[in-house]
Symmetry: none
Subunit: 180 residues, 2 copies
């Protein structure tokens, strides 16, 4: 249902499903990550009236998970780019992953997606520094979503079949950036 | 082989293949696009010694296609985020899509990917304003490069057996980097 892409690395399309409505991607070597893209694969939409809140989770100095709300994805806005490089010193926010007890390791952060009622999402305030501009027109995308959904879903289904993404495979060290 | 994602919209995973080594994604309503993510799906790597140059193409006032080089994707750096919102007044650059005669419509731009030799890519200079930082500290990454190279090379070889990274391609003249 969801994909996650760290700029410069391979895309991940197989989150760990930690609860019926909660999905987690691992982000190895998170201290070298600036931007993360979270998107719906287009295969399965959210149930009507539902959307996803997107959290960044990283271990604090004592190894406790700190969660910060980055933003949202919905059927109408099925992708978003977030900047996480400024978040590591921020405070945690309320989050719905409390009982998950995700194992924390020092260099691995997580992206967590929680499927919730849209009206709940609208009452949550993401950390401002995570915002990377995304959409200018909401309505327009609702239309586009309907127009394009069939084409997209069928085309992706073919290529997706061979993809065996694995969070541990996405690790690309920063040195490749130097090639630029 | 490639995916393309406009921030806020559905991902596209089925580019039009306009030549054996050239792929094009349409970007409808491009004037409302800020960021575009281009990534390899992870199914098919570039052939050894090859990578992809990524172009943005939009129609100028007379309907002629203007092409601008955004950057590159390679097996070692299989995704990138580009900011295209500042490019519409820029000049075109040399590009390999000359003979394509892509039909231009006023509101539709394109992302073009051209598969080329890595040594050719290293001699091309993307438009500076398209860069979205994936690096915070140059020094830090130089260090990390040394620290991580072995881990990177070995883990990549194991987990991405199909991707055939080539260590000899990992070094590019420093002036190329400095241009960024």
């Amino acid at each position: 249902m969801f994909g996650c892409l760290v700029a410069g690395r391979l895309v991940q399309a197989a989150p760990q499903q930690v609860a019926e409505d909660k999905f987690v991607f691992d982000l190895p070597d998170y201290e070298n990550i600036n931007h993360v893209v979270v998107f719906m694969l287009g295969t399965i939409p959210f149930p009507e009236g539902m959307g996803g809140s997107v959290y960044f989770c990283y271990p604090d100095q004592s190894g406790m998970a700190v969660w910060q709300l980055l933003g949202f994805v919905t059927n109408e806005k099925p992708s978003a780019i977030f900047k996480i490089s400024g978040l590591k010193s921020g405070k945690g926010s309320q989050h719905p992953f409390g009982a998950m007890n995700l194992p924390q390791t020092p260099t691995v952060a997580q992206i967590g997606i929680s499927v919730e009622l849209l009206e709940n999402l609208s009452q949550q305030t993401p950390v401002a520094s995570a915002a990377v501009s995304s959409v200018d027109s909401f309505t327009e995308f609702t239309q586009k979503m309907l127009d394009n959904f069939y084409n997209f879903a069928s085309s992706f289904a073919v290529t997706q079949a061979q993809m065996t993404p694995n969070p541990s495979e996405a690790f690309i060290p920063a040195n490749v950036v130097l090639k630029w």
